[in-house]
Symmetry: none
Subunit: 250 residues, 2 copies
């Protein structure tokens, strides 16, 4: 799977708790390759605590002193940044960048860099990136927590890499077309019976009700319940014993 | 901006730090309407600390004891869930759900619910949702932190609301949450009245009917029709004149 070729590189992270939370964010999306460039405090109990069940990602994390060492073999290197930079890096948003990274990761390692909590990536670190990634955020308050930024990009990478989507599962049998038609006939005659629908002036009532029920895709069992209700509307038994076996139409 | 009409509802949150982190996640994406249903500890210093610069969101958060009170006026209610549920709620992924919520939020309030850290939303809370939202995650480790889940959905909501949509894609007005609750109450008492539902042995009938109708997302006009039908079931007028003005509940 291409996600295994995506490296998350945290540069000079100040708070070890953020490293743990980033590891957890990565693992929830199927990423496992974490690299730490000169972390202030690592390993650390706070990182362990925040990693929750992602301690394997933390344990496998590579710690390096030079950014270059974390990027060996990477085909595409992207840097996450909150603010526009003065130099003319190509700046694209998280979704487009994730598509690019995931596509490249089909064949070769790629890397996504995150800077310090306070000031982001340094200019020297940016120099090693081929593109800059921006998470679209509230212009008045764009202060994403480091792990939150990792979470969003890991999520986008997962969505991008799972190109073939699972077909919609239909867990319960639906009512068949002929059952539905029977239901609509019963519904119509019941509504006429109780005087809600005037057959001489039906307007568009049945069309509207059909549209309402067809949106919901009625299941077979629900069809039985609805038919039972219609039957009981025609033959009310006030104070009766609730649902009876013969209320359910087979 | 439609994001102002999106309510984030945290149900029975255990850790106040998660409430603060969720407030920060919301504000980074331009969301500000936070509602807390029976939080275990709130207000709390840990919430303040994690909110960072989003203390205004925290200060404005509404605390309620009943979920219904957080949903008054909401036109579309979605619940975030990590695992498939037994009954047939419609389950869609975060991106599609955000598109739907953002579209409805152009006109009316919408709500997105998150359950407890340990077990998610209860069945009673799910009953008040019209659709379930799943964040695509690693099947072997889908344990997203609560604030991380809020962050991803807030991000998707921002992206969805910023992407320009044609005005004719704005759907018909839906019945509001409190109208729907009124409909379910009337439906229940009507079914008891005609002897279909035994209040002493209700089984899961109302839950099933709630899920059937919530899948269909009842429009406001359809709500009026359904209320008219219930009224006429209780007061049948066989051979009567069809739909009367006073059959329609305003």
């Amino acid at each position: 799977m291409s996600l295994q070729r995506v490296r998350i590189v945290l540069c000079q992270t100040s708070h070890p708790g953020n490293i743990g939370a980033a590891a957890r964010a990565m693992k929830t999306m199927g990423l496992g390759d974490l690299r730490l460039v000169r972390p202030k405090t690592f390993p650390d109990a706070a990182a362990q605590a925040m990693a929750s069940g992602a301690d394997d990602v933390l344990a496998a994390a590579q710690v390096v002193t030079r950014l270059e060492d974390a990027l060996i073999g990477a085909e595409l290197v992207a840097g996450c940044t909150a603010r526009p930079r003065d130099l003319s890096h190509r700046m694209i948003d998280a979704r487009e960048a994730s598509g690019l990274l995931a596509a490249h990761a089909r064949r070769a390692p790629v890397a996504l860099l995150f800077g310090t909590e306070m000031s982001g990536l340094s200019n020297e670190e940016l120099d090693q990136c081929q593109l800059l990634v921006r998470i679209p955020a509230n212009p008045d308050y764009s202060s994403l927590n480091l792990a939150a930024a990792v979470q969003i990009l890991a999520y986008e990478l997962r969505v991008a890499s799972v190109s073939a989507r699972a077909p919609d599962e239909v867990p319960f049998p639906l009512a068949r077309h002929d059952d539905l038609e029977r239901f609509y006939r019963e519904l119509e005659s019941t509504l006429i019976g109780i005087g809600f629908l005037d057959p001489l002036m039906p307007k568009r009532l049945m069309t509207r009700l059909r549209r309402l029920f067809s949106r919901t895709r009625i299941e077979h069992e629900e069809f039985n319940i609805l038919m039972g209700i219609l039957k009981r509307i025609r033959n009310p038994r006030p104070g009766g014993g609730g649902i009876q076996d013969n209320d359910i139409v087979e």
